[in-house]
Symmetry: C2
Subunit: 435 residues, 2 copies
């Protein structure tokens, strides 16, 4: 999730007229059926019909390089995950009120990846939004507090509760009164001091803190992998009675190339960790991993049941995905491919590229104008020029002037060549056009 | 979802000791991994390994009759749905920011089932909880109000917002201050008068109403298919500026044997309709269908995107499920099988059965003691005695003294014979034991 990128605007009649006839017809039908709250990527939307690895095929048979989608993390339609889903869907789909050995085995396997922490339990949901919503319910039950601290452009999900802690959706006016915003820990920001101020503001309002919630790659804030001051900020929040929720929906399952979990890069020990997007390679499965104490406090007040959450097909998809991450060595692969990409983008040496940063295959590239100011227009032009070259990337950040490069982890060296060629070509073409 | 039925209590050490060794071991591992907020059905939990139609097979190869699960509505592991999921998962799983013709086609097909209403759009989520959460966000945006009226034992879901309108989860103390509870429209209740009082109470507190939310079969309240006064209550809510949200997560997709949607039985014209459980026969897919005006009001304030919601595999599962409902004539089948079941349960003529009511294959049976009072203990005994006979049902209602019979719609005449035999046997055995 990011700030506005390059979208088709269904309210713009001339945009519709500019589309090829078949696309215009399908868009028109789609807007009629799904209504005005939906968006399509790109001024000219794309229709894909199949995928493999980091590649997608459109309706006309063209091959596209996907350097954007993080959900199909082990590769589009990965055959092991697809087979696991097919096999279990043909056998049984029930729920967590019956025993299921595979569910227990996966839960133990997943919890084992947090070894060394005292993260004892996992609870299953269907979406990252539900996972963050549940984590916040747990944190509020465990602390008796209601205050939440998030970063200024955070995105954590779309339920009512989580939209109210996601300023990237509707800006500060959409945020609940029990939420305080702090600057993301980019270089130059004293994150601990900001959190200290936020805690003071909550205290002044008579609001006890429940949690500091951080996306451990700060994706929608603009991708900040180095994030200094997190451990110190966490200590302050704990002193005030709050918990640390590490939102690993974006960063988790190996994308950052350093173990499976982004928070380990910052020396954190979260109370609750939320999982989502890549967990089942596209099957709706997500969850909360947490310490025993807050979950016990939550359980004292009531039970939890999620009809589809952690059903046997979800578990089969999640187990196959985790197995593939390990068997194909995707964590080390992500680290190596990501480092090579950062190096090669740096080597382009374009003065419009002000900063390149990343961890594994999550890379942010800041673009600036001649005066060195963030250049949203240039950034959108690059994304569209890459679209013309059949390469998918997106934008991020406070100024929407950061290229977000976040391919499936199946992205390989040949894919990197193609991305680099396309990026250099796009930057060159735009420079010529503007000259 | 219902009140407490017959659960395994993980905090009860003697319950664990009473289990067969293999079950005890798996339960112990499960409690360690999933934590204390989860429950298992039955004092002796069951482990199923495959299913077909209304039948499940446990780990030891025993055949069970499923007269409880409404999610696998067209039958456990229905081959057409499983094949549709397998085929699409092997091809592509993306999301609603790209064009997809099958998504548009399904949306049009689904909206066509609401023909005659002006329900214009559908928005996709993964769970019924997310659907109700989104519907409430839409209603609040459209009305500017925040007040919500629900029935006294309602269950609408588990997000923070929706748990706060679900008294069946935590009783009145768990309900938000902007919620008012009314008695379910059982015989003798003047539902419109109750809603009038609730509106008055909201007005007194300075709270403008956003919506009346009703499960159109009143499942957790105790199954009330006749529900008088709904249309009149809706008119009062509209007069006060609120909307009607018909929660069809339980009642929808033909279960009630009268078209696809429960609200049509009551002559209602809802503003928003929420869908879930049976929509993809177990695949996590759900949604909100609504009038154009409230969705436009919501869209004016922001976009909606749900990462997994309405992805191409979800759509394939939902389309196959809807096709099977029509091709196998499951609406008429549900009506016929349900009517026959009600008649045959009535014919048992047991004085402990105080009332039998239902619509299609959603049936509630009230059990009473010798003095005619709701008998929760008897009801739990019947559920457990049926478990001993390898038949699954559950409980519902304010007193937890209503048997809830709600099988997959694939339930057939032979299944009815088996359920009737088991029910008569259970009632006889319990009478003997208590005599």
């Amino acid at each position: 999730m990011a700030g506005p990128t390059t979208y088709f605007d269904p309210a713009d009649a001339s945009a519709l007229d500019a589309l090829p006839a078949r696309t215009a017809d399908l868009v028109r039908r789609r807007v009629a059926a799904l209504g005005p709250a939906y968006r399509l990527f790109y001024r000219e939307p794309v229709e894909f019909v199949r995928g493999s690895g980091a590649h997608l095929t459109d309706r006309d048979g063209n091959d596209w390089l996907d350097a954007y989608n993080n959900v199909p993390s082990v590769g589009h339609a990965h055959p092991r995950v697809a087979a696991a889903i097919a096999e279990q869907a043909a056998r049984l789909t029930t729920h967590t009120r019956y025993l299921d050995e595979a569910t227990v085995r996966y839960a133990e396997d997943l919890l084992g990846t947090f070894q060394g922490d005292d993260l004892a339990h996992v609870m299953f949901t269907c979406t990252g939004s539900e996972a963050n919503d549940l984590a916040l319910r747990i944190a509020k039950a465990a602390t008796g507090g209601t205050g939440v601290i998030v970063t200024r452009h955070a995105y954590h999900g779309v339920t009512t509760e989580i939209a109210a802690i996601s300023p990237s959706l509707g800006g500060e006016r959409s945020i609940a009164p029990w939420v305080r915003l702090v600057d993301a820990p980019e270089p130059g920001v004293d994150f601990a001091a900001s959190v200290h101020t936020a805690l003071g503001s909550l205290a002044e309002a008579g609001i006890r803190p429940a949690a500091l919630v951080v996306d451990t790659i700060f994706a929608s804030d603009g991708v900040y992998p180095d994030a200094a001051g997190l451990a110190e900020a966490t200590a302050l929040v704990r002193e005030a009675g709050g918990l640390l929720i590490a939102d690993e929906v974006q960063a988790g399952f190996g994308r950052l190339g350093h173990g499976l979990w982004g928070y380990t890069r910052h020396g954190l020990e979260p109370d609750l960790v939320t999982l989502g997007k890549p967990m089942g390679n596209g099957y709706p499965v997500a969850g909360v991993v947490g310490r025993a104490a807050p979950i016990a406090a939550f359980a004292d007040r009531g039970r939890y049941f999620n009809t589809f959450g952690g059903n046997p097909v979800a578990i089969a998809a999640a187990q196959a995905t985790l197995d593939v991450v390990r068997d194909e060595g995707l964590v080390a692969h992500s680290a190596a491919q990501g480092a090579a990409l950062v190096e090669r983008i740096t080597a382009i040496g374009d003065p419009r590229i002000a900063d390149i940063r990343g961890a594994g295959l999550f890379i942010g590239v800041d673009l600036v104008d001649a005066a060195g100011a963030p250049d949203e227009s240039l950034t959108l032009d690059v994304v569209n020029a890459l679209r013309e070259r059949h390469v998918l990337i997106a934008t991020a950040g406070a100024h929407n002037a950061t290229l977000k490069i976040r391919p499936p982890l199946a992205f390989d060296a040949a894919d990197a060549d193609r991305l680099l060629d396309a990026l250099a070509g796009a930057l060159g073409e735009i420079a010529l056009r503007r000259a």
